[in-house]
Symmetry: C2
Subunit: 348 residues, 2 copies
DNA sequence: CTTGCAATTTGGATCGATCCAAATTATCCG
DNA sequence: CGGATAATTTGGATCGATCCAAATTGCAAG
C-alpha cells in the first residue's frame, strides 16, 4: 500500500495470513479453508486489490498469460471487423484479452506488431496475413512453439494451423445457380490474381462452368482490386466487349456492389438486366436494392472457430498444425431476378 | 537458455559482460560504450532473444507498460472500426500495442474487460462507452490515476477526458443546407432519444430550423434505432402522415440508407423526390447511388486524435481531464438533388 | 493423552528485467 | 607519472506473484 499499489503482501498482512495463502486463494485452490478464503476475499475487496498478471506470468509459461494476439490485414473492411468480433467473443468468454493490430496490408507493420506482441507474452496468435506474407514471417513464432492460426488467407509453406472458407465450392455453387437460371455467358469480376484465394475461387468458377456444360472463356474473367470502385470499372469493361455476359459472379460483395454501380451508370438495372452473385454476405447484402444473392461466409462464425481452434491448441500445450475448411452456402435473394418470398421468412 | 527462453543473463554470459550492461543496452542508454553495445546487440540477434516486457514492467510504473486499452461499443459498425484503426495507427507508431475489446453495448462486458485490462497493466484507456455507462463505471480507473479518454459518447459526471464530434454544429449545417434549397418541412430521422448524442443533434436540428425561420414541429422527429432497417421504417411513418416532409436529416448514414430503401419501397427516388442528409460520412456514402450528402465526421481522424490525447496524458504522468470537440463539415453530394461535378474532382 | 494422517498454512527461492550505489577502467593534464 | 575526472561496468536488491518442500494445525482412533 506504500506507493498506492496493493499487493498480496498487503492483503496477507490485513487478513492475518501469509502471502502464500493469499496466492492460493487467488488461484482458487481447494487446499485453502473456506473461512480463510472468505476473509481474504473480503480484504481484497476492501483494499481495492488489482491482480498483477505481469508478475504472475513471470513464474508461469506464456501459455497462461491470458493474452492472444489478433493481426488483421484490413480492419476497415467489415468482413474483418466481423471476424475480429467473433474472435473477441470467444476469447473474452475464456477470460483472455486480445491484442488487436491492423496491418493495412503492410508486411513491415505485420512483422513489427507480431514482434511487439511476442514481447508482451501472448499465448497464441490469430492472423489474417497481409498480402505477400511468407512462411518465414512466422518462422520465429512457430519454432518457439507458439500456436498460430491463419485465417481467411493461407500462408504457403508455413507450419501453422489454418481456417479457410470453402472458396472452391462456394464459387462453384454461384456459377451453378446462374447456369440453372439459363445464363450461358457468365463473367467473373474482381480479385487480385496473385492471391491464393483468387485462384481457389477462379478454379471453382472454371469447374462450375465446365460442370454446366459451358465453355471456359478467359475473356470473361475481369480481375481487379476487390473494391466497390474497381468493381464498377470492371463491369464497364465487360459491357464494352462484343459478346457481353448476361450475368456474373464476383470476388466479393464489395465488387458486386460496384457492379451495381457500373450497371446503373449504363442505365442497366441489376437483377433485371444482369444477374449478379456476390461472395461473403456482408450485412448490406440483405438490405441493398436489389438484395444481393451471394455466398455466405459468416466471418463472425469464422472468427469464433478460429479462436476456438487457437484456444484448444493453447490448452493442449502443443501446437499441432491443422487445416480447417469452413462451409459456405448460397443465399438466394433478388440480384439474379426477383424471387418473391413470403415477408418475414429469411432465405435459406 | 535452459528451458528454451533466452534471458538477459544468457546474453550477458555470451557477450562477456554483466546483465546490468545488457539492460542498459536494451534501454538504449548513452552510458554504454559503442563497441559493447554492438557486441551485445549481435549476441541478442544470434541467440534469438525476446524482450520480456512483463518482467520489465514489474520494476516500472504502469505508464511504461506500452499497452493501451481500447473499448468499443460496436465494432461491427464501420464507424467504430475506423475509429479503432485511427487509434491503432497512432499507438503503433508510439511503440504501444492495444488491447481491443468489443462490448456490444453490454455494460457487464464493459466492466469485465476494463477490469481485465487493468490486471494486464494498461497505461491508459480509450473508450467509446456502452449505452448507459455511468461515471461510477470508470471511478476505479480515474482514482487510480489512469488516463482515460471517452470518445464519441460522453459519460456524464465522469472526470475523464473526452473527444466528441461537433454534433450541434453539424446538424445545424445539415438543416441550413436543406433550407437553402427551399425545403420548409424537414424531418429528423433516427437515434435513441435517451442518448446525449441524440439530444445534441436534435438541438442542432431545432436551432437550424429556427435560424431558417421555420417552425419547429415535434411531429417531424422520427426517433428509432440508428440502423438501416429502422431508418426505412421511420421514413415510412413519415410519408404516411398528412403533411409530409420534403426532405430530412438523419441521425447517421445507416439511417439515411434506410431512408433510401424506404423511399424506394414507395416508388420515390431519393435525391429527386426527397432530399436526404446523413451524418458520419461512412465510406459507402461516396459510392452509393445517389451519393449521400452528409456531415463528415472522419472517425479515423477522431481515433488518431483520441490516441494522441491519451498518449500526451500518459507521458505527462498526470491525467488532467480535458474536453475536445472535433469539427465536422458538410459534404454535398447528390442526395438533395443532383449537383454535377467534374468527374475526378472530389467534393470538398 | 498420545500417535497418525489429513487438512492447512507458510517461509524462502524464483521468474526476468531494472535501479542504484559503488567499483572499475580510461583519459586528461600539470 | 600521479591524481583527478570522466566514462563504463557491475553486483546485489527489488518489483509482485507462484511454487515447493517443510511446518503447523486439526481430528479421530487407540
Amino acid at each position: 500500500m506504500a506507493n498506492g499499489r496493493v499487493t498480496v503482501i498487503d492483503i496477507a498482512k490485513a487478513a492475518g495470513v501469509s502471502k502464500s495463502t493469499v496466492s492460493l486463494v487467488l488461484q482458487g485452490s481447494p487446499l485453502v479453508n473456506e473461512g480463510t478464503r472468505t476473509k481474504v476475499n473480503a480484504v481484497m475487496r476492501d483494499l481495492g486489490y488489482v491482480y498483477n498478471r505481469g508478475a504472475a506470468n513471470l513464474r508461469q509459461s506464456s501459455a497462461k498469460s491470458k493474452i492472444i494476439g489478433v493481426v488483421v490485414n484490413d480492419l476497415t473492411n467489415s468482413f474483418f471487423a466481423e471476424l475480429a468480433v467473433g474472435i473477441d467473443l470467444v476469447v473474452q468468454d475464456a477470460g483472455f484479452v486480445q491484442f488487436l493490430a491492423n496491418t493495412s496490408e503492410s508486411l513491415d507493420r505485420q512483422t513489427e506488431v507480431i514482434a511487439s506482441m511476442r514481447e508482451h507474452g501472448i499465448s497464441g496468435l490469430v492472423v489474417s496475413p497481409a498480402r505477400g506474407s511468407r512462411a518465414i514471417d512466422f518462422k520465429a513464432l512457430v519454432s518457439a512453439g507458439m500456436p498460430v492460426v491463419a485465417v481467411v488467407r493461407p500462408v504457403p509453406g508455413a507450419k501453422v494451423s489454418s481456417l479457410m472458407s470453402d472458396n472452391h465450392t462456394g464459387m462453384f455453387a454461384a456459377v451453378e445457380h446462374l447456369a440453372k437460371l439459363g445464363h450461358t455467358r457468365i463473367a467473373f469480376f474482381g480479385g487480385f490474381e496473385d492471391t491464393a484465394i483468387f485462384q481457389e475461387r477462379l478454379a471453382g468458377y472454371r469447374d462450375g462452368i465446365a460442370a454446366a456444360g459451358l465453355g471456359y472463356d478467359e475473356g470473361l474473367v475481369f480481375a481487379c482490386a476487390p473494391s466497390r470502385a474497381e468493381g464498377a470499372k470492371a463491369v464497364a469493361r465487360a459491357m464494352a466487349a462484343d459478346d457481353r455476359p448476361t450475368g456474373g459472379v464476383c470476388f466479393n460483395d464489395a465488387v458486386a456492389f460496384g457492379v451495381y454501380d457500373g450497371l446503373r451508370a449504363r442505365r442497366l438495372e441489376p437483377g433485371v438486366d444482369f444477374a449478379i452473385v456476390g461472395f461473403d454476405d456482408v450485412i448490406e447484402a440483405g438490405t441493398s436494392v436489389p438484395a444481393l444473392t451471394t455466398i455466405a461466409v459468416d466471418p463472425q462464425g469464422m472468427g469464433r472457430r478460429a479462436a476456438q481452434l487457437l484456444l484448444k491448441q493453447i490448452n493442449a500445450g502443443k501446437a499441432e498444425a491443422e487445416a480447417v475448411v469452413t462451409p459456405v452456402r448460397l443465399v438466394v435473394r433478388e440480384s439474379c431476378g426477383v424471387n418473391r418470398m413470403k415477408p418475414g421468412r429469411r432465405s435459406a
